[in-house]
C-alpha cells in the first residue's frame, strides 16, 4: 500500500485494527477527543463507555487475562489518566498485557500546569512496563507497534502511550503497518533457557525423593498447560498452585494439591515445607506464600523457572535457576526428566489432606461464603470464568471453586485491588462472549466500582455477580480480631444499599439468597437468565478465613479452623 497522509488519530486507530483489537474500554475527555473523533471511521473498534477510568483499566486487564490478548483502554489527560493508575498497577503486579492510550494537553501547553494536565508518564513510571510520550504524529505507528510488542512479550505488563491533543490532529505519512519498523535495541527477553541450566534442573528433579511443583501465573501466561501436566505425570510430582496459578492445572487431576500460603490449604503449605525439592514454574515466591523467608521450606532445594532473571534469588535462594519462557523451558526440560514414581510421597500428601481438612466447612445452618462458592462451582461444573475482588470472598473463591479450564481464574493477586471484580468481569465477558462469567464480589469492593453495572447493561454483557454480602470489610474484621485485640474500627457497613433494588435500578435482574438451600436453585436461575444478574448472598456477618499463616510467619504458625 502506498503511504497515505493521515491524522494522528487515524494512525492510532489503524494501528489498533492492525493489532487485532476489537474492543476498547474508555472514557473521552478534552485532550483525547480528536481520537474519539476518528473512531466512527473504524467500526471494527468497539468502544465500551465505562463509568470510571479505573474500570477501564480493570476491564482491559480482565479482557487480557481471559483471552490472552492485549487489553486496550483509553482515558483523557489529567484526572482521566490518574484514574487509570490502579488498573495499570494491578496489571503490572500480575504481569498482564494492557495498552493504555491517554490524551495529553497540546504540545505547547505541556509543562505549563494547563487545565487537566498531569505528567502521566512520570506518574506511571513505577506501574508500567514501559511508557511513551509521543510528540510527533510520524512516531505514532511505530510507538503503538512497540507498545503492543512490549506489553505481550517477555514478562507481559502494561504500557502507556500519552499523546498530546494536537498530535492526534497532526497529519503524517502512514506506511502499511506491517512494514513499520520497531526501534527497541534495549528490549530483550529470553525465550529458551541455556541447556546447562536445564540440565542442572533436570538433575535435581531426577534425584528428588519428595518433589513438589509450585506452578504460578507464568504457566497460564505462557499457556504451558500440557507441558506442566506432562512434567507432573512423567515424574509423578504433586502440583501446588500459587494463588494466580490456579486453573493452570485441572483440579480434577490426581496430582493437584491446592494452593499454599497465608490462606492456602494447610496440606499445600505443609507439602512445600516437607518437600526436598520445589520446582517453581513461573512463580515469584511472593511474601504471601513465603512468609518468613528464613524459615520457608528449609528442607528443600529449589529449581526456579522464570522468564524474568530479576526474579531469580529475589525473595528465596535458588539452587537451579532456569531463565526462559516457561513453555519453552518445559519443552527443553521434560525429555531430560526420568520417568519416576513417588508413591510414598504422594500417599503422604494424601495423608496430610485427611489430617488437615482445610476445605471442610463447619456445621451450621447459617449461610457462609464457602457455601456460595461451592454452589457456583457445582452448578457450573468448574467451567466458568471466576473473577474476584480482594478479601475474604476472594480466598473462599480460591479455596472452594474447582477449576477445570485454564485461564478461568481472574483475581487481583499482587496489588490486591478491591473493586477489580466488577469491571474485570465485564472485560472478561466482552472478550469471551460465549462463556459463563461469574464475578464473586465482596460487598465492599462491589461498592467501589458498581457504577460499571451501567456499562454491563448498556453492552448487554451477561455477567453474573455474586455479592458475598456480610455487611463488613470481612478481612478487616478478621485482622482486627486476630491482631488488634478485637478493636473493631471502620470494619462494618451499617447502611449498605439494598443490592437487589440497586441492580434493578441499573435495569439488571436482582435476587437475594439468605439460606443454604437457596444457593443452587438461584445459581441455576442466574445461569439460565440471558442477561446480567446480581445476586445478593446475605452471608454470616462475622467469619474468619482459615487456614491462616499470619503475615511474615511460617507454616509452624499455621492456624486451622476449630471444627
Amino acid at each position: 500500500m502506498a503511504p497515505r497522509m493521515l491524522t494522528g488519530g487515524q494512525i492510532v486507530c489503524e494501528a489498533l485494527c492492525a493489532e487485532g483489537v476489537d474492543v476498547v474500554f474508555g472514557i473521552p475527555g478534552g485532550a483525547i477527543l480528536p481520537l474519539y473523533g476518528t473512531l466512527s471511521q473504524y467500526p471494527k473498534l468497539r468502544h465500551m463507555l465505562m463509568r470510571h477510568e479505573q474500570g477501564a483499566g480493570h476491564a482491559a486487564d480482565g479482557f487480557a487475562r481471559a483471552t490472552g490478548k492485549v487489553g486496550v483502554c483509553f482515558a483523557t489527560s489529567g484526572p482521566g489518566a490518574t484514574n487509570l493508575i490502579t488498573g495499570l498497577a494491578t496489571a503490572m503486579m500480575d504481569s498482564v498485557p494492557v495498552v493504555a492510550i491517554t490524551g495529553q494537553v497540546g504540545r505547547a501547553a505541556i509543562g505549563t500546569d494547563a487545565f487537566q494536565e498531569t505528567d502521566i508518564t512520570g506518574a506511571t513510571l513505577p506501574v508500567t512496563k514501559h511508557n511513551y510520550l509521543v510528540m510527533r504524529a510520524a512516531d505514532l505507528a511505530r510507538t503503538v507497534k512497540e507498545a503492543f510488542y512490549v506489553a505481550r512479550t517477555g514478562r507481559p505488563g502494561p504500557v502507556l502511550i500519552d499523546i498530546p491533543r494536537d498530535v492526534f490532529q497532526e497529519k503524517a505519512w502512514a506506511d502499511d503497518y506491517a512494514t513499520v519498523k520497531m526501534d527497541l535495541p534495549g528490549y530483550r527477553f529470553p525465550t529458551t533457557a541455556p541447556q546447562a541450566q536445564v540440565e542442572a534442573a533436570a538433575r535435581l528433579i531426577n534425584e528428588a525423593k519428595r518433589p513438589v511443583i509450585l506452578a504460578g501465573h507464568g504457566v497460564i501466561i505462557s499457556r504451558a498447560f500440557a507441558e506442566l501436566k506432562e512434567l507432573a505425570e512423567k515424574a509423578q510430582i504433586p502440583v501446588v498452585n500459587t494463588l494466580l496459578g490456579l486453573s493452570g492445572i485441572s483440579q480434577e487431576h490426581p496430582l493437584f494439591v491446592g494452593f499454599p500460603g497465608m490462606h492456602g490449604m494447610a496440606y499445600a503449605s505443609l507439602a512445600l515445607d516437607q518437600a526436598d525439592l520445589i520446582v517453581a514454574i513461573g512463580a515469584r515466591f511472593d511474601d504471601r506464600i513465603v512468609g518468613d523467608a528464613k524459615r520457608f521450606a528449609t528442607n528443600s532445594k529449589k529449581v526456579h523457572i522464570d522468564i524474568d532473571r530479576a526474579e531469580i534469588n529475589k525473595n528465596v535462594r535458588v539452587d537451579a535457576p532456569v531463565v526462559g519462557d516457561v513453555k519453552n523451558v518445559l519443552k527443553q526440560l521434560n525429555p531430560l526428566v526420568s520417568k519416576a514414581t513417588h508413591v510414598d510421597w504422594v500417599r503422604h500428601i494424601e495423608h496430610l489432606k485427611s489430617e488437615h481438612p482445610s476445605l471442610k466447612i463447619r456445621e451450621t445452618d447459617r449461610l457462609l461464603g464457602q457455601h456460595v462458592v461451592r454452589g457456583i462451582s457445582s452448578v457450573t461444573k468448574g467451567d466458568a470464568i471466576i473473577v474476584t475482588g480482594v478479601g475474604q470472598h476472594q480466598m473462599w473463591a480460591a479455596q472452594h471453586y474447582r477449576f477445570k479450564q485454564p485461564s478461568t481464574w481472574l483475581s487481583s493477586g499482587g496489588l490486591g485491588a478491591m473493586g477489580y471484580e466488577v469491571p474485570a468481569a465485564l472485560g472478561a465477558q466482552a472478550g469471551s462472549p460465549g462463556k459463563l462469567v461469574w464475578s464473586v464480589c465482596g460487598d465492599g469492593g462491589f461498592q467501589m466500582t458498581m457504577s460499571e453495572l451501567a456499562t454491563v447493561f448498556e453492552n448487554r454483557l451477561p455477567v453474573k455477580y455474586a455479592i458475598l454480602n456480610n455487611n463488613h470489610l470481612g478481612m478487616i474484621t478478621q485482622w482486627q480480631d486476630m491482631f488488634y485485640r478485637g478493636d473493631h474500627q471502620a470494619d462494618a457497613y451499617t447502611g449498605n444499599p439494598d443490592f437487589v433494588k440497586l441492580a434493578e435500578a441499573f435495569r439488571i435482574k436482582g435476587m437475594r439468597v439468605t439460606k443454604q438451600e437457596e444457593v443452587i436453585p438461584t445459581v441455576k436461575e442466574a445461569n439460565e437468565h440471558p442477561g446480567p444478574v446480581v445476586v445478593d448472598f446475605v452471608i454470616e456477618k462475622v467469619d474468619h478465613v482459615y487456614p491462616m499463616i499470619p503475615s511474615g510467619q511460617s507454616v509452624q504458625e499455621l492456624m486451622e479452623e476449630p471444627l
Binding site: K129, P185, G186, P190, R309, N313
Partner: protein, 210 residues
C-alpha cells in the same frame, strides 16, 4: 525553654542499611528526556542510594553511558543490573564491581592558600600530580584525577590549610580492552571488539530482542 540542641532527643537511629553494600554498574542508555528518571526511580523504589552517578555521551550517537555507584542491602543491590536490564531504554548494562576494570574520578579542590602558605600547599599537592586551575588572593584550586583513595588522601592532607570547596565527578569506569578467558575475572571474551558477558553470566539464553 530548651533549645533543640540541648534536649536529649531520641536515640540516634542506626543508618538504614547497617550492612550497606555497594556495586559499580555501567549502562548504555538512550540520551532522551526521562531516562534518568526511570533509572533513579528504580533505585528509589528499592531504597537504594546513588553514591555517585556520571553521565556523558558515549561513542554512539544518541546514546549515553552512565556509571553508577549504588549502595544498599546486599541482596537488593546485587539484583540491580538485572532490574536495570528490564528497562526498555537501557540498551546494555553491566555490573562491573568484580570485573577487570579501569576507573577514575576527577575532583576540583579549592584550598585556602595565603601568600605565606602557597608554596607549601603547592609542593604537597604536586606529589598528587595535580594541575592548578585557579589561584585567588586567598585560595588555590586544584584539579586531580585518580582513584577514590588518592583523592580522599589529598583532601585529608589539605584540611590543615582549609578545604573550602570540593567538587567530585564520581567514578567513571570501563572494562579493560584486552579481556580473554583466563583473565583474573575469567568471565569475559572479546567478540568483534566488544566485551560481552559470558552466557553463564547473562543467565539468559536466546534473546528475543529485535
Amino acid at each position: 525553654m530548651t533549645s533543640p540542641t540541648q534536649s536529649p532527643g531520641p536515640a540516634i537511629v542506626p543508618a538504614p542499611f547497617a550492612t550497606t553494600h555497594s556495586r559499580v554498574v555501567t549502562a548504555l542508555v538512550y540520551d532522551k528526556p526521562g531516562v534518568l528518571a526511570r533509572i533513579s526511580g528504580l533505585f528509589r523504589r528499592r531504597g537504594l542510594n546513588i553514591a555517585s552517578l556520571t553521565v556523558g555521551p558515549s561513542e554512539k550517537p544518541g546514546l549515553s553511558r552512565m556509571t553508577f555507584v549504588v549502595e544498599g542491602p546486599e541482596n537488593i543491590v546485587r539484583h540491580i543490573a538485572a532490574q536495570l536490564d528490564r528497562l526498555v531504554d537501557v540498551i546494555q548494562v553491566e555490573d562491573i564491581t568484580d570485573k577487570n576494570t579501569v576507573w577514575r574520578e576527577l575532583a576540583l579542590i579549592k584550598v585556602t592558600a595565603t601568600p605565606a602558605t602557597r608554596t607549601e600547599v603547592l609542593n604537597l599537592a604536586s606529589i598528587f600530580r595535580v594541575s592548578v586551575v585557579d589561584v585567588g588572593a586567598g585560595s588555590m584550586t586544584f584539579e586531580v584525577t585518580g582513584d577514590e583513595s588518592k583523592i580522599d588522601a589529598l583532601i585529608e592532607l589539605m584540611r590543615q590549610y582549609g578545604v573550602r570547596e570540593v567538587m567530585r565527578t564520581g567514578k567513571v569506569a570501563m572494562l579493560r580492552g584486552t579481556l580473554v578467558p583466563g583473565d583474573p575475572d575469567g568471565s569475559f571474551r572479546v567478540k568483534n571488539g566488544v566485551a560481552r558477558l559470558a552466557p553463564a553470566e547473562m543467565a539468559g539464553g536466546d534473546s528475543g530482542s529485535v
